[in-house]
Symmetry: C2
Subunit: 488 residues, 2 copies
């Protein structure tokens, strides 16, 4: 019990080093930086304000993007009747093992006539509902999205990456032609890429999934894959083109211009709180988190330094002189007046990954300046308080770029080209990262890669580059250029 | 089937008159204005973009308010173990009849060891979790909030007002003293009042609930009550002060400044999609909705009028000349190019309650003006396009005020003072509205009011005004001045 209380304290100075034990480092950082915890309900997490605020920044950015291109938010039911769920065979086969079922209700826990599934994803209920709103080609496209949580009865769990409940958006769109639907799935993948790279500063490989990794019921699945600092890939988002599979299962049809009935073409796409985990694993270091300024709940931490009440008053008056300028400039900052030693506060804000820290003592006040410390480079520079808001805004912008460049360099340094399965197997005995190789497209051979390498999978098919040479497994002429990796 | 398809068409011109059948009018307006529908899952609704966008505007406004005063958003689990739920006796007694239970999971629908409740509200799980994050007085207050949906197995249902799933925020706060917690509940009620009056333009009575209407487990419940256009009251929001009841049940304690353990004082408060229903019932008329500009998804509808392609080109070029100014000014507008007759479009936008409509024909283009029609007064005036954005912004602001004043007049015209239960019974045989009366505070007599009047209840206790005269039931000296009404 004492152990638990200590671990839960808000003021934490140290974590396991990333280089000593990545998994332990990850869990400690997420918990001690007050992002999330296990909830006491098995496999379900509680997201704390510091983690949720990052998700809110991501939600806002993506919501703006999709609304600009005509998507609309809906709220569809949490519970799905079994009959709705069962209509698309491949889809239900994929999700049935993970469904949680509501079977009783009310004070006497009376049995329901038919059990209801908590949505593991909403294709099936949206299919059953949306058909009412589509009569003719004039009603298309229908570009729906919703923000919610879903439940999947996972057996393994990892904060933010895999839990029985997670938070996400799920987009579901319905179109008059295959071309439009394919373009929609492509557009969304570009948005996802922008969220990953421009907002989270995590560079990604983007492309198509192989058949084995395609979403149940989809014709094809697009993905973006980031590289975490332990060398494992993380599937950050997916966007699916369904062809007419769901429209056929749920009879979602429209009258075309010739007044004939046609089935719709549909897509779905989702982006989840997993992205918050990607921020942790994509940027952190031995001291803890490093948060990209664009999604940082706190961009600037101000640590006052003083010895006595008089010193405190002086520093406080000094900070009060320029802090309003930061607020006016929309900079998210926090002045840390807690009763702790400055050195401990430094470690605390480093652990939380706040991009910039300002140390402010009496002599700084006299000189009309603050000491600015960069979380990434750890450089310290004196910054005059005249024009401080503009300077900090520029520094934050620069920080965002530096963080992306650091991650891009890491990705490039850990991306390789190999030719045979033996080379791939040997590579992943020693190292992580992405390996580009050529593949003939055979699904059995895809399975062999995974089995013989101990879990390496095809993460992305690069559709823009022709494969050179032979398939890494069979040596026959290759059809696809693929990126391999071990992945979360 | 044909019937259903016709009803579901996007383009609707007519609804039942409010004055003919209020209930039917309500359901038709909600459905035909594309706000919400029943989902096909019993008792559960689907909220469509036009309804959800109003909820998004409400969420944004309230979220800004609570963040400004230091509240933080969390995400707590959807599912609650039975043991957590059962700890606060009064609370569970109040909610048990409405709980939906998850009892099975996975592909073979295996029985769970212990059933999990879908949250009907989250006091119990938050109580069980938050205690970990509270050690000393330095950790207080803890001001938590979350945006989510909850499930209550209701038997009656009405779109937005009562359904098995609804969307809301639930705030849960923990304090070091009763005084602070009571002030918190008061502060939130002021926010709720501001949402109702300043945003939704619905004037409310604010005050305390009587014991019979107090939330299960609360010491007291505060409420705001609006008057709908059929004369029935609607409880729009509630804010609860729990004293130490929940802290006691869940052992939520802290070390005070003297290093002694003390129980926290807590509050909870919630605001739901019910408010969207309040907009419909608080402002509508025979032609449909009237939406307050501040929460209107579309504030201005532009209807182009033309006879042929040349006419269309002319009007289009004219609109293209000034529409970007509207966008730049942040006015939410829609140009209706659909292939329908102008008169039908007028009716359509009236049904949807869009505050201002601009009719734009070739002669308007020649004169450099548009015809502006006010949804509330139905007045038409010519508006020059020079400076149109500033003019429309001012008109929208004026519309918001006029709408509130109209609702306030309606509320005042339908508020009465009576002295005896017989008078109250007679009153509600003929009329609706609020009746102010005096009450001795006896709970049995409160029950008698409800039984003998056919459902009239005490909506609000006015704590700021001393009661004059005698109790309406027993004739003894009164302790409370109360507002009575029939309510949703």
């Amino acid at each position: 019990m004492k152990q638990e209380l200590e671990e839960q304290q808000d003021f934490v100075k140290e974590v396991t080093k990333m280089s000593d034990d990545f998994d332990r480092w990850y869990t400690e950082v997420v918990r001690k930086a007050e992002m999330a915890d296990w909830s006491g309900v098995r496999g379900m997490m509680v997201v704390r304000p510091y983690g949720w605020a990052m998700w809110e920044a991501i939600m806002r950015a993506f919501d703006d993007m999709i609304k600009e291109s005509g998507h609309e938010n809906w709220a569809f039911p949490l519970l799905i009747p079994r009959e709705f769920l069962m209509k698309e065979a491949e889809h239900i086969e994929g999700f049935a093992p993970e469904v949680a079922w509501v079977t009783k209700a009310g004070g006497r826990m009376e049995e329901l006539e038919d059990p209801l599934a908590i949505r593991p994803t909403s294709e099936t209920i949206i299919g059953a509902i949306i058909r009412r709103y589509i009569q003719s080609y004039r009603d298309l496209p229908k570009l729906t999205n919703q923000w919610n949580s879903v439940v999947r009865w996972e057996m393994r769990s990892r904060l933010f990456l895999r839990s029985r409940e997670f938070w996400w958006q799920e987009g579901h769109t319905f179109h008059a032609s295959a071309k439009e639907a394919i373009e929609e799935a492509d557009l969304i993948l570009r948005y996802y890429r922008s969220i990953a790279e421009d907002w989270l500063a995590v560079p990604v490989l983007a492309g198509k999934k192989s058949p084995a990794e395609t979403f149940p019921g989809a014709v094809h699945t697009l993905t973006i894959e980031g590289l975490m600092r332990d060398g494992l890939a993380l599937q950050m988002r997916t966007s699916h083109y369904f062809g007419q599979n769901f429209a056929n299962a749920y009879d979602i049809s429209f009258s075309n211009r010739e007044n004939e009935r046609e089935l719709c073409h549909s897509t779905s796409w989702g982006m989840s709180t997993r992205l918050v985990g990607a921020v942790v694993m994509g940027h952190g270091d031995d001291s803890g988190l490093i948060v990209p300024p664009k999604v940082a709940p706190i961009q600037v931490a101000v640590v006052p330094i003083f010895r006595d009440d008089a010193g405190r008053s002086k520093v406080e008056a000094f900070i009060d002189g320029w802090a309003p300028q930061l607020k006016a400039a929309g900079i998210r900052f926090r002045v840390d007046w807690r009763d702790e030693r400055p050195g401990d506060k430094y470690a605390h804000w480093e652990l939380k990954g706040v991009p910039l820290r300002l140390n402010v003592g009496g002599r700084d006040a006299d000189a009309g300046q603050v000491e600015m410390v960069d979380r990434l480079t750890r450089e310290k520079v004196a910054v005059p308080v005249a024009g401080i808001a503009a300077r900090l805004s520029a520094e934050l912008e620069g920080f965002q770029k530096k963080l992306f460049e650091r991650a891009l360099k890491f990705q490039r340094d850990n991306t390789f080209e190999l030719e045979t399965l033996d080379e791939v197997i040997a590579h992943y005995r020693e190292k992580g990262g992405f390996v580009w190789a050529s593949w003939c497209g055979d699904t059995d051979e895809e399975a062999r890669i995974k089995t013989e390498s101990g879990g390496v999978t095809i993460r992305v098919i690069d559709e823009e580059t022709k494969p050179s040479g032979k398939c890494l497994v069979c040596g026959e002429p290759a059809k696809f250029r693929v990126a391999l990796a071990k992945a979360y």
